[in-house]
């Protein structure tokens, strides 16, 4: 397998290889010279700003954005201020840091998203240098100003500017500097001449790395590893110092004769890539170096290597993963290597295959062999090599009984995905370890940012990502993007969106509609909202779009009264009262909710509401209620008068009459209270009469009875009971004779008996009409009389006795 190791170079114990990723599709006339270049890690896009210092309005610098494979994504002339630095965020957004401290954010396709400023004082002092860095908190920006002050923002999505303390003795820009993220803190490491300082939020500490040669007069370059673990310093004396980023352990001090640039240290066994004009140099701990002659290029630090981008091609420079070394190293006897050999012989139909297999099996290393082949396949970039390794693994697996196929299957799937996204058309040159680190979710996001929706969906389905995280999310992004297409009609977009999205779980139409509204397409937003199944979701956006009527009816439809309240409260503050009431009037559910609220909170509003509706009945009822709150009689009467007026308007004569009577009664009670101190005010008519009778004020009771045309029967009952209660039997007798009783005389008998006055009761028995006589006698308990009853009465008695019997039962 000589050809696989052909591009391997030894460095100490390890090997390094440089694999070609792409022939760049771009066509750069002037190469990468005079360009501000920014390329994002994880196979991210590349941004170029040509001749950033050209300031004349006639020829503006050109900003170009390419995918990692060199496909042009956007290109436009730069019209804003001079740019100091370009950088990419974790969300594939381009940051352009201008001299005046303004940071402009563009998306992958060059459309402006937003901007922010690095502080007011920067406008005067200007940004000298800037760096974009990534930390667990997101993407950050650090600048150093003309007044030699550093300002940091750890997360641009949650912008908090921190001005770091002054550095003693620093004039202008430091000779070199880097941003470190350590112990959950972001710090700046800078060199001023030979002095090293660490700047954190509160202090500036001078540090000296152990073992750095004393002759050094200036540190000219420094670089921090991808993981912020290692640091490399390059001095004017041509010494390279590498060590841990804590500056505690020195790893080596290397002497190099000439210098030009220093870039990016990298993984596993720390090593540094240094770049000169025509030379690329890898320096390791063991004082060993590899030299590559090279054309001018840009290095992009990755998790497990460095991408080297030149004007014609892109290569990945990385340490050969251990497992690949073991398999492919010349004369390797590792189980993986043997298995690969066995498989090769097997394909040649040679019996040597068996020998190799036997050899592995004797060491009982077959499982390990398969594992190595699977793992190595993951690390290989060449599809043919991947296949060879996987076939070998599959072959080896046949001889194992209890080998879990999971890792094999997973690797196959992942490689398929990786190969798909590595395609030049897509241009995401991810290694397997990068893919593992970034996770499928992020990969999907990246594809979505690049608008590779179909591929993203395919990958989701292929990897069986749950809909909620996978397909639905892609569809959501797709729809949000779709609504921004200005050349399509609202109708067409709405239809297209609905067709694709359907009712996929987890895609919220209100979210898409909100996007449409953001782009100023209100009509489209409303159309999209119609597809939203949960009316509750529609409401907030409708309110935002000032479609309050629609919002209200949707809120009512949702059946969520809290939502209705929200809208009602909103409308109350937004609209004038008249319109507000009119709106409510068309929504009875909302109206009754609001009424309920008003009943307890805003009585006056309630009145206005009824007024507006010309609801005289309710208005009158309202006045009646209100009258009970009035303490003074006069005001109470006047409120009741309003009630009467309203009842009249509502053509409710009965109620009007009743209210008028009440007013009359109140006045009467007041008079009597004043005269006799009877304490009647507020009693009902019946209660008043009762009280009067109890007080012996028969005349006044009589007057009420006549004035208010109390039904005879009721008055008789009342008086009867009242007299019996006081046991005024004479008075009762007189009363019974005053005229013919409208309630008959049976009640007289009954009330007497209730007071156990048989004697009085008997007086009235004779007056009881024949059909009730039996009852009367029964009540008195006069058996003798019963015996003399007629035959027809007897029947009645029987019936009664039966009734009684059941009564006792019940």
């Amino acid at each position: 397998m000589a050809f696989i190791t052909a591009n391997w170079n030894p460095l100490g114990e390890a090997f390094y290889r440089k694999t070609e990723l792409y022939e760049m599709c771009w066509n750069l006339r002037d190469g990468l010279r005079d360009c501000l270049v920014a390329a994002a890690p994880y196979g991210g896009p590349i941004a170029l700003l040509r001749e950033p210092h050209r300031r004349s309005p006639s020829s503006r610098p050109q900003l170009e954005i390419y995918s990692a494979s060199g496909n042009s994504l956007a290109s436009f002339p730069w019209k804003s201020g001079p740019v100091v630095q370009l950088g990419w965020t974790v969300n594939d957004e381009l940051l352009c840091i201008q001299e005046d401290g303004t940071v402009l954010i563009y998306d992958l396709f060059g459309s402006f998203k937003r901007h922010f400023s690095m502080g007011q004082e920067v406008v005067q002092s200007q940004v000298l240098e800037a760096k974009v860095f990534h930390s667990p908190y997101g993407t950050g920006v650090a600048i150093v100003t003309g007044s030699s002050r550093f300002t940091l923002a750890t997360n641009i999505d949650d912008l908090k500017l921190r001005r770091l303390p002054e550095v003693p003795g620093l004039q202008g820009a430091p000779s070199c500097w880097a941003v470190l993220t350590q112990d959950r803190q972001t710090k700046v490491l800078l060199a001023n001449g030979a002095d090293l300082f660490i700047l954190d939020n509160t202090s500036c500490t001078a540090v000296s790395p152990p073992g750095l040669s004393p002759q050094v007069s200036s540190i000219v370059h420094m670089s921090v590893s991808f993981s912020y673990k290692y640091l490399a310093l390059f001095t004017d004396t041509g010494h390279l110092w590498t060590g841990s980023a804590h500056l505690q352990v020195s790893q080596s001090a290397l002497c190099l004769s000439s210098m030009w640039g220093c870039r990016r240290p990298k993984s596993q066994q720390p090593s540094v890539v240094l770049m000169w004009d025509r030379l690329l140099l890898v320096a390791g701990v063991c004082n060993d170096i590899i030299q590559y002659p090279h054309r001018p290029c840009v290095c992009v630090g990755e998790l497990d290597g460095v991408r080297v981008v030149s004007s014609s091609r892109q290569e990945l420079l990385q340490e050969v993963p251990l497992v690949c070394q073991e398999i492919f190293k010349i004369a390797s006897m590792a189980p993986g290597a043997l298995l690969l050999e066995a498989h090769r012989e097997y394909e040649k139909c040679s019996q040597k295959a068996d020998e190799y297999l036997r050899e592995i099996k004797e060491q009982s290393m077959l499982g390990e062999a398969v594992r190595q082949c699977v793992e190595a396949a993951g690390h290989e970039y060449d599809i043919q090599t991947q296949k060879t390794l996987l076939r070998a693994a599959s072959f080896g697996k046949c001889f194992l009984t209890d080998f879990s196929p999971d890792s094999f299957v997973a690797t196959c799937r992942e490689l398929r995905v990786l190969n798909a996204v590595r395609e030049a058309g897509v241009g995401l040159p991810l290694t397997h370890s990068q893919f593992k680190q970034m996770t499928v979710q992020v990969l999907i996001d990246r594809l979505v940012y690049r608008q590779f929706y179909p591929l993203a969906i395919e990958i989701c389905r292929y990897l069986k990502t749950p809909d909620y995280q996978g397909v639905s999310r892609v569809l959501k992004h797709w729809a949000s993007c779709k609504v921004q297409q200005k050349d399509l009609s609202d109708e067409a977009i709405a239809r297209a969106v609905c067709l694709k999205v359907g009712d996929s779980a987890g895609v919220s139409y209100s979210h898409i509609a909100a996007k449409a509204y953001e782009c100023g397409r209100t009509e489209l937003a409303i159309k999209l909202l119609d597809y939203e199944a949960r009316s509750g979701e529609q409401v907030p956006l409708l309110l935002k779009m000032k479609r309050s009527q629609l919002a209200l009816s949707k809120a009512v439809e949702s059946g969520d009264t809290d939502l209705v309240y929200t809208v009602v409260t909103y409308l109350k503050n937004e609209m004038n009262r008249g319109d507000f009431f009119m709106t409510l009037r068309n929504q009875p559910v909302a109206l009754s909710l609001y009424r309920q609220f008003c009943k307890l909170q805003e009585q006056d509003t309630l009145k206005d509401l009824y007024n507006q509706d010309d609801d005289h009945q309710e208005l009158a009822n309202y006045y009646v209620t209100a009258s009970y709150r009035e303490k003074r009689l006069e005001s109470r009467l006047s409120v009741l008068q309003s009630a009467v007026d309203e009842y009249n308007k509502a053509k409710n004569e009965f109620a009007a009459k009743a209210t008028e009577d009440e007013m009359r009664l109140l006045r009467f009670q007041r008079k009597l209270d004043d005269e006799k101190g009877a304490g009647l005010l507020g009693l009902s008519l019946q209660a008043t009469m009762e009280a009067l009778l109890a007080l012996g004020l028969h005349k006044q009771a009589e007057q009420l009875y006549r004035d208010f045309r109390v039904p005879d029967k009721r008055y008789w009952w009342l008086k009867l009971k009242s007299l019996a209660e006081k046991e005024e039997w004479e008075e009762l007798e007189k009363f019974s004779k005053s005229k013919k009783s409208p309630i008959g005389y049976l009640p007289f008998v009954e009330v007497c008996m209730k007071r156990h006055n048989k004697h009085e009761a008997k007086k009235y028995v004779s007056k009881v009409p024949p059909e009730q006589k039996v009852k009367a006698h029964l009540a008195v308990g006069d058996g003798a009389v019963l015996a003399r009853c007629s035959a027809s009465d007897r029947l009645l008695i029987d019936k009664l006795n039966r009734a009684r019997a059941t009564a006792t039962k019940k």
Binding site: R534, S553, V556, G559, D560, T561, D562, L563, Y565, T566, T569, Q587, P588, V589, S592, L593, R595, Q596, F597, L600, Q601, Q617, N621, V624, T625, Y628, R629, F654, A655, A658, T659, D661, E662, L665, L683, S684, L685, Q686, A687, F708, V710, P711, K713, R714, W717, L718, K721, I743, A803, T806, A807, K809, K810
Partner: protein
């Protein structure tokens, strides 16, 4: 009786445990000693969930009842456990503001149960204390009162929803159903009738959709939702089944009744829990009152024999008797004497008020006989000022059963109606009763046509909300007579009805009337839907629905889960209805679980319509 083996009821104690754990969790959100203020009508439900010692264990220092008065607590942490009522929230605001004015700094927490409403938060905001108070929700929806009764304890549901058209409780209903579903579901059949039922159903569906679903063995497979306004007649009738009668007279509160001195024949009142744990009560609760005495005396005799056993025992036997049986007997003895006392007391009250006459009138009204006599009885009832609630109840019953056919009489009554006698504020009560359709006043010919045209216009309009409005302006027609004929709710009266061996659900009203609500349930279960009942649903103003086969549910009709039926009454149900359903269950081999917003009866129903002015 064709008795099939009845399926076992699910265990509802888990609901209590769930509620208790959640409450404890909420209390622990406010660490340290705190005073707890409890809304008055939450006291008894809370008592069923967590007793005082449990609360004390979780650092509740003192317990207070919410009384709308200034607070005298010295604790620096106050916790309020309240219903989401604006009035109560306002009181809390007053408390907080008073403390603020006095320069006291305290921590406040409001726990709303079963949920909080936006309006309550608005009040907090308006009063400027939104930031001073933390709020939480205690999702205590379901209180198991008995092995087959679950109560939401929301009496205001009825008035708010049916009278005021305020639908905020609909979601609460949906959540309650959802909670039940998530523990005992999945339901495979859902039937329902009424507008509110439909909305509750939809709210529940939505919540099911939002949440995750787990395939489970269903314990309850069938649900029937019914609005109270489908059947107003039943709750307005006097109850004559023992449990109902106890409720009518002594008022059962949260499964617990307080018997006064006249029952206990001592000078103390005793609180008694009335549920299936009480062996004596369990036997008589569903019986017609006329049978209860017989039962009780039989029981007394049995008890006597059991006591008598100890005669002629040797010491050893006596020892086992004392240790094993005596306690149970004593307990039974105590309960028996209580129930006998209660029965006697009820007897006394009922004969005093001419209960027999009253029942006769009610039955005539239900049967539609001798209306003229009934009217004069009611008139006399009013004239004698027996009881306002009773009078209103009879008036409503008359109006509902006669459905305006005898309008000349009701008009007569109307003029006789004494706003005078009970006070002018009952004008409002009247307006409420009319709005609810309990009391129908004849409209002059002209206005009626105006109403009809208005109605016609609104029917075209699909918005359901507009219909409510129409209903509130146009008194609802009750159609009781037609329904009664169609469903044969009134058994033929010429046969003697043996209340000892009831043959149908009519026994709960002395054989005079089968409750409409229960009859509907019976019919729908029998027909497996509403087919064949089109005319009935038309008379009931529609809004019926039947949904079968939700995902993963067991559809075999013979399975136990299918024969356990959850009946959800929106707006309350009476003990009589529960008794009727128990009877139906025994007859058909079903088990009914009643889930209701509140236990109601005629008095509570009418009282809900009063406008009280504080």
């Amino acid at each position: 009786m064709s008795e099939r083996d009845s399926p076992e009821l699910p265990d509802f104690s888990v609901l209590k445990r769930l509620a208790r754990d959640q409450l404890i969790y909420l209390l622990e959100q406010l660490p340290g000693k705190k005073d707890l203020f409890i809304e008055a009508d939450l006291m008894s439900p809370l008592d069923r969930i967590a007793n005082v010692s449990t609360l004390k264990q979780h650092e509740v220092d003192k317990l207070y009842k919410v009384e709308y008065k200034p607070v005298v607590s010295t604790s620096d942490q106050l916790c309020f456990l309240i219903r989401p009522r604006i009035q109560t929230v306002k009181w809390v605001c007053d408390v907080v503001n008073a403390d603020k004015a006095a320069g006291k700094f305290k921590r406040y927490k409001i726990i709303f149960t079963p949920q909080k409403f936006y309006a309550c938060e608005t009040v907090l905001e308006e009063q400027g204390i939104f930031g001073d108070v933390s709020t939480d929700e205690w999702a205590f929806y379901l209180l198991p009162l008995d092995e087959d009764i679950i109560n939401l304890e929301l009496p205001e549901f009825f008035r708010d929803n049916f009278l005021e058209g305020d639908q905020r409780w609909v979601r609460t209903g949906g959540s309650a159903l959802h909670l039940f579903h998530s523990i005992y579901g999945p339901f495979s059949k859902v039937y329902g009738i009424g507008r509110c039922s439909k909305m509750v159903y939809e709210s529940w569906r939505e919540q099911v959709k939002e949440g995750e679903q787990k395939a489970r063995q269903a314990e309850v497979g069938t649900v029937f939702l019914i609005d109270r306004d489908v059947d107003f007649v039943t709750p307005l009738c006097s109850q004559v089944v023992y449990e109902g009668l106890v409720d009518d007279i002594f008022r059962i509160k949260c499964g617990c009744v307080e018997f006064g001195p006249d029952v206990t024949s001592s000078d103390k009142s005793i609180k008694v829990m009335l549920n299936s744990q009480d062996k004596v009560f369990n036997e008589i609760r569903n019986e017609h009152f006329s049978n209860v005495f017989g039962f009780l005396s039989q029981k007394a005799r049995n008890l006597q024999t059991a006591y008598d056993k100890r005669r002629g025992m040797d010491i050893k036997q006596m020892k086992t008797f004392v240790s094993e049986e005596l306690k149970g007997l004593k307990q039974e003895h105590r309960l028996l004497s209580l129930h006998i006392g209660a029965s006697e007391s009820m007897m006394k009250k009922k004969t005093k008020q001419d209960f027999q006459e009253l029942l006769k009138t009610e039955h005539s009204l239900l049967e539609g006989f001798e209306i003229r006599e009934c009217i004069s009885f009611i008139e006399e009832h009013i004239n004698r000022q027996v009881s306002m609630i009773e009078s209103l109840r009879l008036l409503c019953l008359l109006s509902l059963t006669e459905n305006g056919e005898s309008n000349q009489f009701s008009n007569n009554l109307n003029s006789a109606w004494p706003c005078q006698s009970y006070g002018v504020d009952h004008l409002l009560t009247f307006a409420n009763l009319k709005q609810l359709g309990l009391l129908v006043e004849q409209q002059p010919g002209e206005t009626l046509t105006v109403m009809e045209s208005k109605m016609g216009k609104l029917v075209n309009d699909k918005t359901a909300g507009k219909l409510t409005d129409a209903f509130s302006s146009l008194a609802k027609k009750s159609n009781f007579r037609a329904l009664s004929r169609r469903l044969s709710l009134v058994p033929k009266s010429d046969e003697e009805y043996d209340l000892r061996v009831p043959r149908d659900m009519a026994y709960i009203f002395s054989g005079a009337y089968i409750p409409l609500s229960c009859k509907l349930i019976e019919q729908v279960l029998e027909r497996d839907g509403w087919t064949g009942l089109e005319e009935v649903t038309r008379l009931l103003n529609g809004h019926e629905f039947a949904v079968t086969g939700s995902n993963g549910a067991d559809l075999r009709p013979q399975s136990d889960a299918q024969r356990i039926i959850l009946v959800m009454f929106l707006g309350g149900c009476t003990f009589s209805e529960i008794s009727a359903l128990r009877f139906l269950g025994r007859e058909r081999g079903y088990k009914f679980i009643v889930l209701t917003t509140a236990i109601t009866n005629s008095a509570r129903l009418i009282e809900a319509m009063l406008d009280n002015h504080v």
